[in-house]
């Protein structure tokens, strides 16, 4: 059931670090840089922050970030929620304000993965004997195969092709050249994408997000506080902030579902915000693999069922199209340091709605949506309005 919180909350400051690989820095360093950038954006100091939600999949580092940037004794909540970790931490901060409990709160997302990809569960079998690991002999629970299988499920239903999915990667890499925060800022031709090394058919290397290091921070405030601080021109209203888990389905035993929890989350978010997919100018959605993005056009109602590939081909999701989808370059180019991703998708939409997105700006963007899915399964949807 959609829950409309007690009062509105606004985003008054965002910050992120350029995604990449930082072997000489700690993850706390990266998070601290993002926090400092968000504080500067809102013209605040840590003294103003009344509550912190910190998302990191590897470790509960929220208090360590406070020791790095400012120890004020305020509540710090550590969050772990698969790839939705950062956005769930932001949701904690959002509800701290929207519930009326606090006037200013901060959500942080951070992760340091280095080159080691955290692909998914390699579960130990019966009595700790490696011979009983099901991976590779009873299908796969790793993320590239799971998201590839969802793409092929769409092929079964609608005849979608390898080329249709490759076009998602083409668009997002093309957008990334305008994003100074992206891990990779490089355009690829359709041929380069389709002829790249196959990871899990139909996703080639350039259709899979890179792993890496990154951090982002988002500061939320009440309406009164926005006025008091003189930040009305900068503030972006959170019209809906929703988190779902996967509802029951017949195939749920066998494969974690990326469609159902997204459909449930956007349905609730549209209802709370009083906004529909036709109103969205900019969307940052969870394109961890090219196959996923195409499904989410339909999951979110941006395209009718089975029409996602056609809409993409017609340019409806390009910058300057009906709805710019992943103008940032998405996870495919910006990168996907797991716990950081959610906070950074929200930051990107805030920049789009403020008209601060530079060469990747969607013209006249007023309404945006940030979506993350974590396979556990968890889905967050934030609708933001300027």
């Amino acid at each position: 059931m959609p829950v409309k919180p007690a009062r509105d909350a606004y985003i008054i400051g965002v910050g992120m670090v350029k995604y990449g690989r930082y072997p000489d820095k700690s993850v706390v360093d990266l998070a601290t840089e993002a926090v400092i950038a968000a504080l500067k954006d809102a013209n605040l100091t840590m003294k103003d922050i009344q509550m912190v939600g910190s998302g990191n999949l590897s470790a509960p580092i929220g208090q360590a970030i406070m020791r790095s940037v400012g120890q004020t004794g305020v509540p710090v909540v550590n969050v772990s929620n698969a790839c939705a970790t950062g956005s769930t931490a932001c949701r904690e901060a959002y509800f701290s304000v929207a519930s009326g409990a606090f006037d200013i709160a901060m959500g942080i997302g951070s992760e340091q993965m280095g080159k080691a990809g955290l692909l998914g569960a390699g579960r130990i079998g019966a009595m700790g004997d490696l011979a009983y690991i099901p991976e590779g002999v009873m299908g796969s629970q790793l993320m590239p195969p799971v998201f590839s299988q969802w793409g092929v499920d769409h092929m079964r239903k609608y005849g979608t092709t390898f080329e249709d999915f490759a076009r998602v990667a083409y668009k997002n890499h093309k957008n990334s050249v305008h994003n100074p925060y992206a891990q990779y800022q490089q355009e690829f031709s359709m041929e380069e994408i389709m002829n790249a090394r196959m990871i899990s058919w139909p996703n080639t290397l350039y259709m899979c997000c890179p792993t890496g290091d990154g951090a982002g921070a988002v500061i939320y405030a009440s309406a009164d506080k926005v006025r008091q601080l003189g930040l009305s021109s900068k503030a972006v209203k959170v019209a809906a902030c929703v988190l779902t888990s996967d509802p029951w389905s017949e195939s749920g035993n066998a494969i974690l579902d990326i469609n159902l929890c997204t459909r449930l989350a956007v349905k609730e978010a549209y209802e709370i915000a009083g906004i529909g997919p036709e109103d969205l100018d900019a969307v940052e959605l969870h394109d961890c693999f090219a196959t996923a993005e195409l499904l989410h056009y339909e999951n979110m109602g941006l395209a009718p069922e089975g029409e996602g590939a056609r809409y993409l081909k017609e340019g409806k999701f390009d910058i300057g199209g009906k709805t710019a989808v992943n103008a940032s370059g998405g996870l495919l180019s910006r990168g996907h340091p797991l716990g950081a991703t959610g906070a950074c998708g929200i930051s990107e939409i805030v920049w789009q709605l403020r008209g601060e997105a530079g060469g990747r700006q969607q013209p006249n963007a007023k309404v945006g949506l940030a979506h993350v899915i974590g396979l556990t399964s968890a889905c967050t949807v934030n609708i933001m309005v300027k």
Binding site: G122, G125, Y132, M155, M198, I199, W201, E250, A254
Partner: protein, 149 residues
């Protein structure tokens, strides 16, 4: 008898890789998948259940024996995996007519998209195969699916 000699004389056994694969004692009987069906709403699950995630009934299940046939919901051809996992292999999801689905490898066909895409939504049948040996030298048996004739 010492523990060491007990191990030596122990006969090599066949062990299922998961608890919902039943390997009958008699060679005349075929292996099968088993699970639980909720008496209240009919939802089907692989293996044992404590509660129904669909209708929330607690502890009231019938044991079900799944048939050999299912339909191919989706697949992928895995070319890169975790260290030690042999590639390429076809990872698939098979819908079972009893109302659930299983994750499995698809065998009996080349890992070629042009051959696999036409199989989507088509009938596949279960079979079993030794996939590894465990620490004690027992055969570890997994179930797979292949195109049905």
């Amino acid at each position: 008898m010492t523990q060491a000699s007990e191990t030596e004389t122990k006969e090599k056994q066949q062990k299922p890789i998961v608890n919902y694969l039943k390997l009958p004692d008699s060679p005349d009987e075929k292996p099968y998948l088993w699970g639980s069906r909720c008496k209240a709403c009919g939802a089907a699950y692989l293996g044992p259940r404590l509660a129904c995630a669909r209708c929330f009934a607690v502890g009231d299940f019938d044991e079900i024996r799944f048939g050999d046939e299912g339909t191919l919901k989706t697949f992928t051809i895995v070319h890169q995996s975790a260290p030690g996992i042999e590639v390429p292999f076809i990872a698939a999801i098979v819908d079972l007519p009893e109302g659930t689905a299983v994750r499995c490898n698809l065998g009996g066909i080349e890992p070629d998209p042009e051959k696999l895409v036409p199989l989507l939504g088509k009938k596949v049948e279960m079979y079993t195969e030794k996939v590894r040996e465990d620490r004690e030298g027992n055969d570890v048996i997994a179930f797979k699916y292949r195109p049905a004739n």
